[in-house]
């Protein structure tokens, strides 16, 4: 019986064995347990979104966008936090994207893997990707102390912490996109007399741009939601002004949510939920953009 079924399975892999032993009680319990695992994950996700939305809905209004934070919950808003997040993420992007792409091009297109230092860089990047976020805050703190900067809570400090945090993510995503470009394109370009850098610049890199853009947007959305490194820079200060430069004080959305969540009054709990919805909305827009770019521009060879 199984022999017959396996013959079928080789035609459509693993699709043909739904009868016989598959109906034993143990198998059915096992399958239910697997479904349950997925259900738990999605159930929590849905509960999280619904509870946050219902709690914050009443406070998701114009005040949240236009007002600065305040000791009176009624007049508090996330204006400084929204602008601070935009500032920090923009600076992070400017610092990190060129660096990450350059590093990925080196590792993927030029690096000689028989050299120990190139292998060391690879393992090092994998390691950095898994270092806890809060450690990057301590790195930025150490760096600012080294430079003798007195006021630690400045846009450039936050951008350095978040930038170094997402650099490995951008490098890894860029390498994957470069690797997906077929070798034939490189060979064709080299055969026509292009130099190696011309090949990268005119052929490999343009073909990898959609994948790089997707990976980079996802990395930046991670930076947008990250609070731990910024806590170390003292990001909890009471910011009631618009940030206006690299050395300007700032707060960000996640930090503002952290601050409001930690307060005892019920109104602040509502406010934290409303700001969470806003943050999730911003992340949703970024993720949708990433998926749109991937689906519209990514080429499959």
């Amino acid at each position: 019986m199984s022999v017959l079924e396996t013959t079928r399975a080789s035609a459509t892999p693993l699709a043909g064995r739904a009868q016989g032993g598959e109906r034993s009680p143990a198998s059915i319990v096992f399958l239910i347990a697997l479904w349950f695992s997925l259900f738990v994950a999605f159930f929590v996700l849905i509960v999280l979104i619904i509870t946050t939305a219902t709690e914050g809905a009443g406070r998701l209004d114009g005040r949240l966008l236009t007002e600065y934070t305040s000791a009176t919950p009624d007049r508090a808003g996330a204006r400084a936090a929204i602008l601070g997040s935009i500032w920090v993420i923009a600076v992070t992007a400017i610092l990190t994207i060129p660096l990450g792409i350059a590093a990925a091009i080196h590792l993927e297109e030029f690096a000689d893997n028989s050299k120990w230092w190139n292998r060391f860089i690879e393992v090092n990047i994998q390691n950095l990707a898994a270092v806890p976020a809060i450690i990057y805050g301590m790195l930025a703190l150490g760096l600012l102390a080294l430079l003798g900067v007195q006021n630690k809570n400045i846009v450039i400090g936050g951008a350095i912490a978040l930038g170094l945090l997402i650099l490995p993510v951008i490098i890894i995503a860029t390498r994957e996109s470069l690797r997906a470009v077929p070798q034939e394109i490189r060979h064709g370009s080299l055969a026509l007399g292009a130099t190696e850098w011309q090949t990268v610049q005119k052929q490999t890199l343009p073909n990898a741009v959609p994948g790089i853009a997707t990976g980079t947007i996802l990395a930046l959305s991670r930076a947008l939601g990250e609070a731990a490194p910024l806590l170390l820079l003292g990001g909890l200060v009471y910011v009631t002004f618009d940030p206006n430069g690299l050395a300007s004080g700032f707060t960000t959305m996640p930090i503002q949510i952290f601050n409001w969540t930690g307060r005892p009054q019920l109104e602040f709990r509502e406010l934290a939920a409303a700001a969470s919805i806003l943050l999730l909305g911003m992340l949703l827009v970024m993720n949708a953009l990433a998926i749109f770019i991937r689906n519209k521009y990514q080429r499959r060879w």
Partner: protein, 320 residues
Amino acid sequence: MSTIATGGESGVHLTPPPRSRPSLTASSARTGEKIIRVLLAGAAGVSVITTFGIVASLLIPALGFFREVNPIDFLTGTRWAPQFTPASFGVLPLITATLWTTAIALAVAVPFGLGAAIFLSEYAPTQLRKVLKPMLEILAGIPTVVYGFFALQVVQTDFLRGLLNLPTGAFSVLAAGLVMGVMIIPTIASLSEDALSAVPLGMRQGSAALGANRMQTTLKVVFPAALSGIVAAVVLGISRAVGETMIVALAAGQQARVVAGPLEAGQTMTGFIASAALGDSRVGSLEYDTLFAVGLLLFILTLAMNIISIRLVRRFREAY
């Protein structure tokens, strides 16, 4: 978090990359190209500088700390009270809280993450998998501070205290651990799924040919074959749980004491770093150095687990 799963393997080049055929490169070296190459290599070197920067920025203040506090007392002391006089710097209370939150998180994330991975890899049709996998990734994309809000306000306040009426205070390691577990499910599911999918189809067919049903094939053939990849996923999950900050800072509590049960509040290593960073301590003071001593311990612990995980993935890759 497909970092380890997908990170740096040049083994996938089926044809040799252009650099291995020097005959095709220009016979006369171009200065411009050389400069560009050096710049690119320099960019890659930034990651190495980052690592050294992390080590230096943790080690220098931590050494200052250990000049004042005996490392043995630090690692074995059971009282953590850096702000008190006389101050006491026994890190064990922070470690017990970290162990509790991590253990609870793993109790959630390992079974459910593995269940999801097995379903996606062995049972789900391609179409269904294409829908379910990105949905699972959404869980990984939710900011940890939102999880922290959820852990504190919904899980601890509304669920554990309100609905279940459990004897617990405003904070508990249970609430933090449970939510952290959900947060780690995608990490474990995604890496384990990669490991399970990498097991050759022939092994499943061989098992089926011997009369095993799909469950038996999964549990007795595919799962053992993918074990090192799955262990790597779990180890990375532990590393993430130990290093997670915002959830424990909000929901686990701010009192550093030895945690004896899941319903108690406690301060983890990351929780201490977060709350100490909020206080205004001068650069060079003992409070400031304490922060980095705990940070160094955290870094060493997570680094050890990351290295184990990377090694295991590599061994698994070599096997198939």
